[in-house]
């Protein structure tokens, strides 16, 4: 079991460019979560999917950010027209969503730097 896989591990973009981050959840896990971590804001929730359906995107900035889960094996987070304040580590997590445990397993993160 490779765990949650995130690619790329590091991404550097210029201001105004688009960035797409990828997440492959653990096989068999039905829920996928996106978080981001910055020094100032700490770890904050962005959005999540259950059985590929979007459930809660209350943490997503209303403009420029979008997330999709086209199939059970991957999810993407897209940031259009990136800004320096989007620089952060973006973390993906998945969980089995069984009655016995809803533990979330985290990937290594994608460090996004917007110049």
């Amino acid at each position: 079991n490779a765990g949650v896989i995130q690619t790329p591990r590091h991404k550097v973009t210029g201001k105004g460019q688009e960035a797409t981050l990828w997440c492959e959840p653990i096989s068999g896990h039905s829920a996928v979560f996106w978080y981001r971590q910055t020094i100032v804001q700490g770890l904050e929730f962005l959005t999540y999917f259950r059985n590929q359906a979007p459930i809660d995107d209350s943490g997503m900035p209303k403009e420029r950010f979008s997330a999709q889960m086209p199939n059970q094996s991957h999810s993407t987070l897209k940031i259009q027209s990136t800004q320096p304040q989007d620089s952060a580590v973006y973390l993906c997590a998945s969980s089995r969503d069984w009655a016995s445990s809803y533990e979330q397993y985290f990937g290594p993160g994608t460090r996004l730097t917007v110049l």
Partner: protein, 109 residues
């Protein structure tokens, strides 16, 4: 106030010492996870609790949903315990996590 208040923000221990971290929740949580974030930034789950107490080696965690707090106790601290520790609560099973602000732990020889 903050939905998850974590204390202390920083902690310095000598090898062999015992200490504890605490998270207070402003609202009722159904479960809590404790993480250690290593030097590469990876979040490693230490505990997942829906209630009660769990132990794993030198670590012990307690979660009291009704009293709205959770604790992480480290016994016989080792150098490799250094890092940042986060608690995170979930208001419903399978729901998003709300994280504490972290405790930066440094263990000195």
């Amino acid at each position: 106030g903050m939905p998850v208040e974590q204390n202390p923000p920083a902690l310095s221990l000598y090898e062999g010492a015992d200490s504890g971290l605490r998270c207070n929740f402003s609202t009722t949580m159904k479960s809590v996870q404790w993480f250690q974030q290593n030097h590469r930034g990876r979040l490693i789950t230490l505990f997942y609790l829906a209630q009660g107490t769990k132990e794993n080696g030198r670590l012990k965690s307690t979660f009291n949903s009704k009293e709205r707090y959770s604790t992480l106790h480290i016994k016989d601290a080792q150098l490799e315990d250094s890092g940042t520790y986060f608690c995170a609560g979930s208001r419903n099973m399978g729901y998003k996590l709300t994280f504490g602000t972290g405790t930066s732990l440094l263990v000195d020889p």
